[in-house]
């Protein structure tokens, strides 16, 4: 490499950068160490690069440009699929659809069907009477004392059956009265009484349905909803309605 070649290489090498790390730059610097004239030229060249770099950086961008860019950006009308508000609205609608779908599909926790299933299965699983007595007056007093429905109205056939006792259950933070009656040949009958407002879609007219191994008949009257459950078939329950 001669000094002319070295100048062609070094002219585009900035001091303090990786430009000088290239092999050809190293060879050019080596030539400069051998040639004092080239060395002096290289020193002046480095000073030129420094001053030119500083000179370029004396350019001051107008602050108003910054504000104009941002102001302009606010007026940009993006295509609808790139607007965040569209995506947010779409996400909200999708979420709403999911919530509605889940709500409609899932059995409602306070539906009458759920209530009936729970109380009947509770009896089948295990039940205890909180009070054992044949005296219906005592039973009403006990239920009233425990804030459970006590002002129920028994159909005539039921009211003639002897009582066995009663208990208080809880349903959705509401008290449920359980009155146990002796049906004789069909064994124990269980009458559940709950405030009508506590369950959704409670039947007004008698509705018969088998729940597990018990037959039930349900109805509403006044402010109360009733579920009568027993081991007999539908016909046996019809006798007590």
């Amino acid at each position: 490499m001669n000094s002319a070649n070295a100048k062609e290489i070094l002219i585009s090498c900035r001091p303090g950068t990786e430009d000088l790390a290239a092999p050809e730059a190293a060879a050019a610097l080596e030539q400069a160490r051998r040639d004092p004239d080239l060395q002096r030229w290289w020193e002046r060249q480095q000073a030129f690069h420094e001053r030119t770099r500083e000179s370029f950086r004396t350019i001051h961008a107008p602050r108003s440009l910054h504000d104009q860019i941002l102001a302009h950006a606010k007026t940009i009308t993006l295509p609808w699929w790139r607007r965040s508000v569209v995506w947010k609205a779409a996400a909200a609608i999708a979420l709403l659809c999911v919530v509605v779908a889940v709500w409609q599909k899932a059995p409602s926790e306070n539906s009458f069907q759920t209530f009936r299933s729970r109380v009947v299965r509770n009896v089948l699983r295990q039940y205890t009477m909180d009070i054992e007595t044949n005296d219906m007056t005592h039973i009403r007093q006990f239920l009233a004392t425990n804030n459970a429905p006590a002002d129920y109205v028994l159909p005539q056939p039921l009211s003639s059956l002897p009582a066995l006792g009663a208990g208080v259950l809880s349903w959705q933070n509401r008290s449920v009265s359980m009155i146990c009656l002796d049906s004789g040949d069909q064994g124990t009958l269980f009458l559940f009484v709950v405030d009508r407002a506590a369950v959704r879609n409670a039947p007004a007219q008698p509705e018969y349905a088998a729940v597990s191994e018990l037959m039930t008949v349900s109805w509403s009257e006044g402010s109360k909803t009733y579920v009568l459950a027993g081991h007999g078939g539908k016909e046996s329950l019809q006798r007590f309605r």
Binding site: I9, I11, R51, H72
Partner: protein, 171 residues
């Protein structure tokens, strides 16, 4: 660019450097402002196509350069001089470097320099970009970038000395 762009932050970070680059290319403050504004406009409207956020700065410089060259092509009615011819006219051997440099003279000399050389030189001094970065931004081969920078600096120095800005150093 996937995800939302923080346009305000990007403007804060890059508008000044882009303006310096734009002014180096165009030589006119109003044109430089227009170029920077248009560049950020494109970022706001098309920047979502970028997948790598770390390349936003390079994308901005490339876009501004393309806007500049695109605009120039629309303005120039006569055929451009082929690059090979331009390069032939430049001094092959570098002159003595000027000892004094100020932006006033430098900008006038830059404006006289063919725009093929203006962009790599501006990036070379403004941002300390490596040759590879400059090649990527301008979409030209690495060897071409090195050649344009070397010849551009030589031409720039010659013009500055002719204008009397730089006192030729006595060897």
């Amino acid at each position: 660019m996937r995800g939302d762009l923080d346009l305000e932050r990007l403007v804060d970070q890059h508008y000044a450097a882009l303006y310096r680059f734009a002014l180096s290319l165009s030589g006119h403050e109003s044109d430089a402002c227009d170029l920077v504004q248009e560049t950020f406009f494109l970022l706001a409207t098309k920047g979502h196509q970028l997948t790598d956020h770390s390349k936003v700065k390079g994308w901005l410089f490339t876009t501004l350069y393309r806007l500049f060259t695109g605009g120039r092509r629309r303005l120039i009615r006569f055929p451009q001089q082929p690059l090979a011819d331009v390069e032939e006219e430049l001094p092959a051997a570098p002159p003595e470097p000027p000892s004094h440099v100020d932006w006033d003279v430098l900008s006038k000399c830059l404006a006289r320099l063919d725009e093929t050389f203006r962009a790599p030189i501006a990036l070379f001094y403004l941002e300390d970009y490596s040759y590879n970065d400059i090649a990527e931004i301008l979409h030209v081969p690495l060897g071409t970038v090195k050649s344009r920078i070397a010849r551009g600096i030589a031409a720039l120095q010659t013009m500055m000395i002719e204008r009397g800005s730089g006192t030729r150093s006595l060897a």
